[in-house]
């Protein structure tokens, strides 16, 4: 195990002090640059290609009116949605993995993704709802699943193995429910539902991403600034965190609530994009080599991963676009297998 990099401190004469890890900040910054850079490439690609310089100029408000329509009305919403979904999933995944002290603690495995799917299927199959209703169904389904898992795991059990096991059980039930709902659907509805369940960014406009952007703007600072340090203490175990003065149940409730909300709104915006929440925090940790939840690097890594996956989905097979969820599933599954193999080699599992 390599040494964790040292922390740096900023102090002011007034007695204020900030402690941070330069390496973690650098990783976050690099991920952010990659995410934004890929975003610019994405905006410039398509049936009407533009150079990155043109894209940047148009984004700055100095492009031709035609460019402006294509960039700001059509392609930017999709990229912004991708960035926001990736950041939300990366952040939520980091919170879940830290709270359950397990790299498998991701919304894919804890049942929240399946719950969002159930919400969407219910809306599409039983009520024939449109895309706005489907998004509401995703958010509602994810939140309802969060409440069920919370209630079953119990106030004192909402962490560690118990949450993982309850989540796996709930996920299994919901997968069954989702399968049943699909068999009951008209063929057109079923096709729509399956596409949605794969996770896709096609045809996103500002209305699709607005709820998620608001959730990120509110919950991001709340989690990063308000609860990040408490989350680090919770990793020492409940008793130790308690002894250090963390109000553990309140902190955990806020963090779990924020993570479930972020996952649900991300699913509402782009469908249940798989594996980003699982891989982004792990990749971020390996790059920062810093113990702890690594919330900010994980969020930036998630954004970079999702935009890169969308780029691959659009460009990897010429003339044949894939839903972004297919790419993240393929990459994420491969990564999971690699993780299991290397962890096994180092003897950790």
């Amino acid at each position: 195990m390599s040494r964790s990099p040292r922390a740096a401190v900023l102090r002011t004469p007034a007695g204020l002090s900030l402690r941070f890890r330069p390496r973690a900040l650098a990783v976050a910054a690099v991920c952010l640059v990659v995410a934004l850079g890929t975003g610019v490439l994405l905006i410039g690609s398509g049936d009407f290609p533009m150079s990155p310089a043109d894209v940047v100029r148009t984004l700055a408000g100095q492009g031709s009116p035609a460019d402006s329509v294509i960039v700001n009305e059509i392609r930017l919403p999709r990229v912004v949605t991708a960035l926001a979904v990736g950041a939300a999933l990366g952040l939520a995944g980091a919170i879940f993995q830290s709270l359950v002290r397990n790299p498998l603690g991701s919304p894919d495995i804890l049942g929240f993704t399946q719950g969002a799917g159930t919400g969407v299927l219910t809306v599409i199959v039983l009520f024939g709802g449109g895309s706005a209703a489907a998004a509401a169904g995703a958010a509602g389904g994810g939140l309802a699943t969060g409440l069920v898992v919370w209630a079953v795991a119990g106030r004192h059990g909402a962490h560690g193995q118990r949450l993982v096991l309850v989540g796996i059980g709930v996920a299994a039930i919901l997968t069954g429910v989702n399968g049943y709902l699909l068999t009951q659907a008209q063929i057109v509805d079923a096709a729509r539902a399956v596409l949605w369940l794969t996770g896709s960014l096609d045809g996103r406009d500002w209305a699709d991403s607005a709820p998620l952007l608001i959730a990120l703007a509110v919950l991001g600072p709340l989690v990063l600034v308000g609860c990040g340090r408490a989350l680090r203490m919770l990793e020492l175990g409940d008793d130790a965190a308690h002894a250090l003065g963390v109000p553990i149940e309140r902190a955990r409730l806020i963090l779990l609530g924020a993570a479930v909300l972020l996952t649900s709104f991300a699913a509402a915006a782009a469908g249940p994009v798989s594996f980003v929440a699982l891989t982004a925090p792990q990749l971020a940790r390996r790059l920062t080599r810093t113990p702890g939840p690594n919330l900010l690097p994980a969020a930036c890594m998630g954004a970079a991963l999702l935009v890169a996956a969308d780029w691959a989905a659009q460009r990897a097979f010429t003339g044949h676009q894939l839903p972004v969820g297919v790419v993240t599933g393929l990459l994420g599954g491969g990564y999971l297998v690699w993780l299991l193999v290397t962890e096994r080699k180092t003897g950790r599992i």
């Binding site: 195990m1 002090s17 340090r229 020492l236 008793d239 002894a243 003065g245 080599r289 113990p291």
Partner: protein
Amino acid sequence: MTLHHDTHPAPAPAPAPEGVAGPATAAPASSSAAPPDATAAARLSGGGLTLAYDRRVVAEGLDVAVPDGSFTVIVGPNACGKSTLLRALARILKPSAGAVVLDGRPIAGWPAKKLARTLGLLPQTSIAPEGISVADLVARGRYPHQGLLRQWSREDERVVTESMEATGVAELADRAVDELSGGQRQRVWIAMALAQQTPLLLLDEPTTYLDIAHQIEVLDLCARLHEEGRTVVAVLHDLNHASRYATHLIAMRDGRIVAEGEPGAVVTAELVEDVFGLPCQVIDCPETGTPLVVPAARRRAP
């Protein structure tokens, strides 16, 4: 290498805690040979405590006081409720009746961080995050002294260094905690609790899983922390260790305090037989003069 206490003046002399005893009567609780005025002076005490996990009651009507400046050790057979009592004193377990009182105020009403600056706890099980270094782990003990805009003051830095020196882990500062031996790891956790700079320190079985040399090393460290002015409360398994190090011994059985007081007065063959069900002799320890329990020899089968 002394550790300076932060300034946590006890707010006024603590009033006697009897007034806060819960509804449960304290009738059978202590048939103790206790020092008579222990409760009156104690910063930390519990009155009429009923302790339960869900519905399983572990102790009922328990009255306990930790004499100020003492090294109090709680002993008793497995499942007698000694760790449960310690958890209640640290506010991890909420008593279903009665109240724990710290500095004259029910502990339930203390703000979390303020409590963590007054009362430290070394839990039985803690988790070292993967790959964390010794210095980083000890630094987490400063959490109750920090805030959003005061994340790492010079004072924090100084106290962390001193805590590592006091526990002899300073030269391990950059090592990963998961690479250390059990004894070293326990000293690191104690250093973290020290960095909290609390005048009261609770330790839940600090010597479990350690070999004999490391047990003594950790207990010597606890004794030194006590001599430096802290009130130390520990749950221990080994009666001989308890007799050697404690200034105040609390013996528990079936959720009740059977005896308490100075080890020399409390630890007798009758008490050990009564509490642990173990026939034995109690002799004077040749090294310290404290009571030494020698279990009776097994009788050869006829």
